[in-house]
């Protein structure tokens, strides 16, 4: 008996629809978020992540509705991120039915927000979303903001260490270079972040072939997030789990007697 690795489909939501692009641009419509969440739940997703990429406040309200509807029908953990700027934003999302909240840009602007959220709701609700890319910082990895559009000159590893000290409960590491390319997770980035953190690590960005999922686990990831390979039917969640089970990684099977 052991803790299973988690397979997490990620739904980028804007104006009530799921979209997906490559390197955060060229977005195409991928479906209805509530229907997709239900389907992924049935197929054995271990968690779901919604990233609200709406630009408008009306879009954000629509996303709150999506969260409410999903939480009523899907009984697995739900993480919501995108545009979270305050303790009150976190409260509103939790009350709508989110179990965990991910933050990125606002924490970089004001790191103390991490401690404030952790103090009020506990570290376990707080996921640090790190959108990192290769750059000339000390470790070779730089944190970006605004969905990868803006660099910060902040070293990704130094940022992860600081955020862990402030109280994040989990790290969602998204490779901006690999995002949407299906060319494989950024293995050396996962390895580097694993070495400086002692909270669960979710690998994101680049999932393509089944071997990619195993490689990220070998590099130290506890959970694997993917979007386009699931949305566009390249793999079913069951295919990834069967592959991993065959190679002796602990996965949760959803068959009941």
């Amino acid at each position: 008996m052991s803790l299973s690795i988690r397979i997490i489909p990620c739904l980028d939501v804007t104006e009530g629809r799921v979209v997906k692009g490559v390197n955060f641009t060229n977005l195409v419509d991928a479906g209805d978020p509530v229907e997709m969440a239900e389907l992924y739940g049935v197929e054995g997703a271990d968690e779901l992540t919604f990233l609200d990429i709406s630009a408008s406040s009306a879009g954000r309200e629509t996303t709150l509705d999506v969260i409410r509807q999903t939480a009523e029908q899907v009984f697995i953990p739900l993480t919501v991120g995108g545009g979270v700027r305050s303790v009150e934003d976190v409260n509103r999302l939790l009350r709508a039915g989110a179990d965990k909240i991910s933050i990125n840009t606002s924490a970089i602007a004001r790191p103390q927000l991490i401690a404030e959220i952790a103090d009020r709701f506990g570290s376990q609700v707080l996921v640090l979303s790190v959108d990192a890319r290769r750059a000339r910082t000390a470790s070779g990895f730089e944190v970006t903001t605004h969905g990868g559009r803006e660099g910060t000159d902040i070293d990704a590893l130094a940022w992860v260490e600081k955020a862990c000290a402030l109280g994040v409960g989990e790290i969602l590491l998204n490779s901006m270079d690999a995002d949407g390319t299906r060319a494989g997770y950024d293995i050396s980035m996962i390895t580097a972040v694993r070495e400086v953190s002692n909270v669960p690590l979710i690998a994101s960005g680049g999932a393509g072939a089944l071997e990619d999922f195993a490689a990220a686990l070998d590099a130290g990831a506890d959970a694997l997030l993917a979007a386009s390979v699931f949305h566009f039917g390249i793999h079913r969640i069951g295919d990834v789990k069967s592959y991993l089970a065959k190679h002796n990684y602990p996965v949760r099977t959803t068959t009941m007697k």
């Binding site: 690795i5 009523e72 009984f75 506990g122």
Partner: protein
Amino acid sequence: MIAILDYGSGNLRSAERAFATAGHDVVVTSDANVAFEADGLVVPGVGAFAACMKGLQTINGKEIIRKRISSERSVLGICIGMQILFSYGDEHSDGAPHDGVGIWDAIVTKITAPILPHMGWNTVEAAQGSTLMKGIEDQAFYFVHSFAAKEPVGVHQTWTTYGEKFLSAVEDGYVSATQFHPEKSGVAGLALIKNWSNSL
């Protein structure tokens, strides 16, 4: 009717919906009378031990829970809602263990493991004769916590190992508790909720 105790703790919406799937009316309440009169009382919990005890205090929750148990009315604690049923919690920022409700005389301490929180789906060693775990002994459940009780209390103990062995469920007459989140544990969790509500 099942009452879910609202004492300022996180996401109660999915708990409400999950317990409703078992066919009962469900109410989320911080009203002492409603909480006492319900057929079953669920004590959820998200956050830190001390913050939860503080929230519980503001609605007189400790007395509600004690009174229900002494009146032979069922209580189910979930996650921190399980932990606060113990005598003490060692999760603190001010150096001293915090008093719990004190149903079980043991302390809740940090798990020894390289990566915390213990987050995700894990299996259990289900207690023989368990009502909660009936038919789902081989299933995985969703955990998210860094602290746990490690001494056997109550009548039936279900255990899980992550770094070390800890209590993942306790059944003790009218009071039961799970360290994992049945309301977040998919089909297996809904089956556990049904097992509990059928026993009311």
